[in-house]
Amino acid sequence: MAATLTKAKRRKPSNFGQDNLVGYLFIGPWLAAFFLFTLIPIAVSLVLSFTDYNVLSNSGDFIGLDNFQRMFFEDRRYARSVNATLKYVVFAVPLRLVFALGVAMLLNTWRRGVGVYRAAFYAPSIVGGSIAVAVMWREIFGNDGLVNFTLNLLGIEGPNWLGRPETAIWTLIILAAWQFGSPMLIFLAGLKNIPRHLYESAEIDGANAFQRFLRITLPMLTPIIFFNLIMQLISGFMVFTQAFIVTQGKPLDTTLFYALYVYRRAFELNEMGYASAMAWVMLMVIALLTALVFRSSSYWVHYESDEGPA
């Protein structure tokens, strides 16, 4: 009896460490992969960004800030890739969020078969970044594709969507808007969390649907909007697959997104040093923008638990 007691006593502090060990063991595979395939490469790429490392010759020298100088002052295509990416983010992110919220509100009602619709609307996002969707998009907007076929029936001769510099990027922006599934699901969860009694009392006070949306739904949803905005902003800057498959950055570099240009430099021209420098600039810009959005959040994000402005 006494023995077991002391054993139990002694076990308590050491047990804590053991629990931790088990925990670390469980996340071990992830941790190992994280260090090996994410953290270390990130650190290496920072070093590489100050070199002219070439993949094929497997060698490079430190060249200080030359890569950055070249990027900002000499590389015309770099400027174009920044343009294309900014245009994409500015239009695709808000569009996707608006679509996501709109559809989420439609699906936030209890009608028959709403589950089917939810699944159906979410489906494009699951296959979203995939090659298959991009290939399909190319067919839809192709010269004899679905869009031009439909326009033809209406007696309109559609333009060459993917071939014209004015329209090519818009096909990719529309593709992004169409892939609204994951922010939609998050919006849907947010909508379900808004207490019904707020709507009921507003209705009694005579607020119409638009007023209820503006005064209740939107403010109550701001934390969700904030979260979705950050996530979409980050993924918007990193857009790659769509341009890689659908347009190859053409025409006239109007869809040469930043990540695609980094890929070209790194893996097609083997200029890993220069590409690393580009990637780090991108990381800084995203970090800065995210910080700005975070800063601004105190002005527009409404938290239920807040004590209000001090």
């Binding site: 993949v55 094929l56 010759s57 497997n58 015309r76 295509r77 190319r138 192709g142 010269n143 060459n160 969507w161 993917l162 071939g163 014209r164 510099p165 659908v246 347009t247 190859q248 053409k250 025409p251 006239l252 570099d253 070209r264 893996f267 097609e268 021209l269 083997n270």
Partner: protein, 429 residues
Amino acid sequence: MKNRKLVFILIAIALLVLPTLLAAAQDQTVVRISWWGSQNRHDRTIATIELYEELNPDIDIVYEFQGWGDHWTKLSTQAAGGELPDIMQHDYARIEEWVANGLLMPLDGYIGSGVIDTMNIADSSLAGGMVDGQMYGINLGNNSEVFTLDTDAFAAAGLELPALDWTWTQFEEIANQIQDALGIHGIGVLTSDQLWKSQYMGCCDQWAYAPDGMSLGYEDDQPLIDYYNMLLRLQESGGMQSYEDSVARGDQGVEAQLIVSQEAAMAYHWSNQIVAVWNASGPERNFVMYPIPRPEGGQSQNYIKPSMFFAVTSQAKNPDEAAAFIDWFVNSVEANEILEAERGVPVSSVVRESLLPNLGAAQAEMFNYLGLIEMDNSPIRPADPAAHADVVGNIFGPEFVEPVMYGMISPEEAAPYLREEANRILAAQ
């Protein structure tokens, strides 16, 4: 439930590990090989490999294949990781760069010892694979650029076939006549960098790059300007597919050329690709191969080049077995009966002669065409400088071809910029 999951995971692991274990148990030597190409080439090469494995049960050939662009992306990454296959398909435009970086193995020892038998291969066919006096790539077939004409379309348009030494002026006329008569394009876009490289052969006996590769090889922009003005006229008239349309379609490989789908009556490609083009078009179609048109009073813009090489990499784990496979691939009649000259006209005279009686229509036309080019051609130029991909990918395409073909800038304005920027990149190598 948990148990079932465990069993499932164990089975999955077993399935993953099993092939390796089996291979080890059978004590086979693994030779890894990687090539680029069209579906037609993939099918033929895989069938050839299977035959080799049947004949050599102790050899296991593990293959990877991909399109042209992905080939280089993948292999340069593998090179950095020390994971190159034993054999890789190589190209005249890139072999210098790879040798300079110590990634390929000289094959002279294997040739000397007879592992790779070159008795029946002409020196001129081997020369392209030499870098600094050593052999790094075994030529898999002879090749030249070609304009393929659809004779049925010509007949339908009421057009005579041109003379073999046709000029660009005649070509432009024909392309327009086809558009007028049949409502299809004369030809797909002709903006490939290859045509830029050989542009100056016809008029001026020059090449896009200087012999040392440190600058452009021509002084006068006018022939290039004239050529692009012709392309602009053809794009306008529909004699050539519009650049815009080619962008919208994307690069879908040689089998997606307009001539295959009868949306054009002519096509520009490498001579070996006629096998894939004809195969995709169907046996009922009729094609004839023509040299590149030449300038008025100019000389041939065609030259004969090794279509591609097999090279043994310096990271090869089993170079002896790799060399033996290359020897068989090049010299064996059996292998080449399957390959059917899809990589160009075989370099071994024995193979060529044994194939002759049973050639398919495409192969017969290609053999005939290469014979024709042998009579009248320009000499092959040095392999492309290491910065070639940079010049083409970052300057020639986006700063010259695209703005010109979209009418943003005239060829007269764009050509000097191309020269200036290309020279800057070439000098900085």
